[in-house]
Symmetry: C2
Subunit: 357 residues, 2 copies
């Protein structure tokens, strides 16, 4: 235990669960010079994480200042309780927050527990996929309960900052409602949209454009993991799904009855929702314009495009490469400030690019 | 009328409706050296399109070889019938195909009508947004009815090819089922996901990540236009929505009853659906890997990144810039062939980039 100022993270930090998230936090702590202790039921994970420089295996005499529980949802409650028994401040990185808190509600020392949820991940898992940069600029929900001590809260926020993340303080209830809306509901609706494609004829799917690819992308995630996450937030997700079913019924009825205004009402709600999502860097969404550029699909062409775009002094807010079903030319979509789009287009055309807006 | 070989597109081509799509087709025809005649109820649109070099205003003596009807869905039937009366081959570019065909079923000359639907668009509308490159590499549904003559079908496919698109032949019924699945259903589900965000507190929305942005992006589209499109395909969309409601009910019930297998079943269907979408260039989806790179958010940095990536001789399949809520650093996600990802990562790190997978 340290005798540093309250809220000052000096270590050691114990990581329970050396998977993708746990090992990434460990690497970020090591980068900051903290001592890191690693605990995992898998000796393989432990050896791999140690080998990556993420820390050393925990021994019985270790007295960590902070324990980070990074185990699958089903094991969070037990591991948080075990960690609290050691006297340290304890946080976790679970995707839902009400359940784990309920599991440790009566445990001695629960005032030292503050939930957490870094909004970062990867298509890969395990310590080999870990990176100290995983959390750079990402939101990191910090979810104290009413009994959490201010010192414990400060320590967990310090961990988020040390990892390069942006702490967002919410109650556990609010957090679970928030991720139900911003993560679990979109995931389930994406899965329903994708599910409708599963048995479609190939020549129907040939008409797939960027829209359906975007809507369904997240639905490619591991069903067992997302099933566990969604089930752990069943109450909040269920309430939202019931609301969605009501609006879905309204659309079905409006379509059947030729009531175009009823369809438009649901579409208009959707427009409002897309405008509510915060823009880049957390600010309000700025008006953007799009420039499309045809780019031959081989190495080096994107570099040439971005060199030419860079020379135009226009900051590119977003890029996507449209998947071209018929030929080896990519259509690259550049999103820029609305009032800079025309300048970028003119500038690229002057360098021989085929563009349009 | 021309005396060229059947199916050979020699013009003149009349474009009825000089909006984004009509004017873009006109420009592509002019690029190929064809004479183009323009018809529009708006003198402004006509003057603008002519001024862009898209063609000249139609006169009563003109005898086009092919008429392309590019008007809003509500006016398709009447304009197709009017065009058929002139003796030319007629196509349209409407987003649904059964309705317009039904509207002209008994019209003399209907054997000269072949529906069409180029899968391209823009966030902008009107002739000023037009480009001869709009259709490059995009699918273009060509939807003959049983009475369509082979010559008419060949002429419409020739138009799609001339515009740089990839003709995909479907019956009108099949087309409407296909776009119901690949466009209208995803759009409505995206609107429902987005609608659930409309009244969410700002600190909940602060947890929004790339997933929810992707799922909801298309829901930002004009509700009046999409309402018209979806309503015109009410039967096919309604049937799919009814199927979605059944699966939604199953998820709600599974969540309420703690039946995790029931939730996973729907998520697994979603995974199958994402795998059914054809990959880049129409081929099967290849396994891809992702490399994340932290990039300062100012002009020129992306150019430097792509120059370095290009030097690594790895072909970049997709790019996205993750919107970073907290700071002026973008996280760029590069998608490449799975077996090239590690090489790209190592190569970028050797040039000083902070990367992870």
């Amino acid at each position: 235990m340290s005798d540093a100022l309250p809220g000052s993270l000096v270590g050691p930090v114990e990581i329970v669960g050396a998977g993708l998230i746990g090992t990434s936090i460990a690497l970020a702590c090591r980068r900051a010079g903290l001592e890191v202790l690693l605990t995992d039921s898998s000796d393989d994970h432990l050896r791999t994480a140690s080998g990556l420089g993420a820390g050393r295996a925990t021994t019985p005499d270790d007295r960590p200042q902070l324990v980070v529980v990074a185990v699958p949802p089903d094991h969070l409650g037990a591991q948080i309780a075990r960690a609290l028994a050691g006297g340290a401040v304890v946080t976790d990185v679970g995707s839902v927050k009400v359940g784990p808190l309920a599991a440790v509600a009566g445990v001695p020392g629960v005032e030292r527990y503050v939930g957490g949820h870094p909004m970062a991940g990867s298509e890969r898992s395990g310590p080999l996929a870990a990176s100290s940069a995983l959390f750079d600029g990402r939101p990191w929900a910090v979810t104290p309960h009413p009994g959490s001590t201010p010192e414990a809260v400060a320590l967990v926020e310090a961990l988020a900052l040390l990892c390069g993340a942006v702490p967002v303080r919410l109650t556990p209830d609010e957090h679970d409602l928030a991720v139900a809306r911003t993560s679990h509901l979109p995931h389930l609706l994406a899965a329903l949209a994708a599910g409708a494609l599963a048995d479609a004829p190939a020549d129907h799917l040939a008409l797939s454009g960027q829209g359906v690819r975007d809507v369904t992308r997240v639905a490619a995630g591991d069903p067992a993991l997302y099933g566990q996450i969604v089930a752990a937030n069943a109450h909040a997700v269920g309430a939202l799904l019931t609301g969605v079913r009501e609006r879905l019924d309204a659309v079905i009825e409006a379509l059947a009855g030729g009531d175009r205004a009823g369809v438009e009402a649901v579409l208009s709600e959707g427009v409002s929702g897309t405008r509510a999502i915060p823009g880049k860097h957390g600010g309000p969404t700025r008006p953007t314009g799009t420039v499309f550029v045809a780019v031959p699909d081989h190495p080096g062409e994107l570099a040439r495009l971005f060199a030419d775009a860079g020379a135009s002094e226009v900051n590119i807010e977003d890029v996507r490469i449209d998947h071209d079903p018929g030929r080896p030319v990519g259509l690259v979509e550049l999103t820029v400030d609305e009032d800079r789009a025309e300048h970028l287009l003119t500038s690229l055309e002057s360098k021989g690019w085929v563009t349009h807006r």
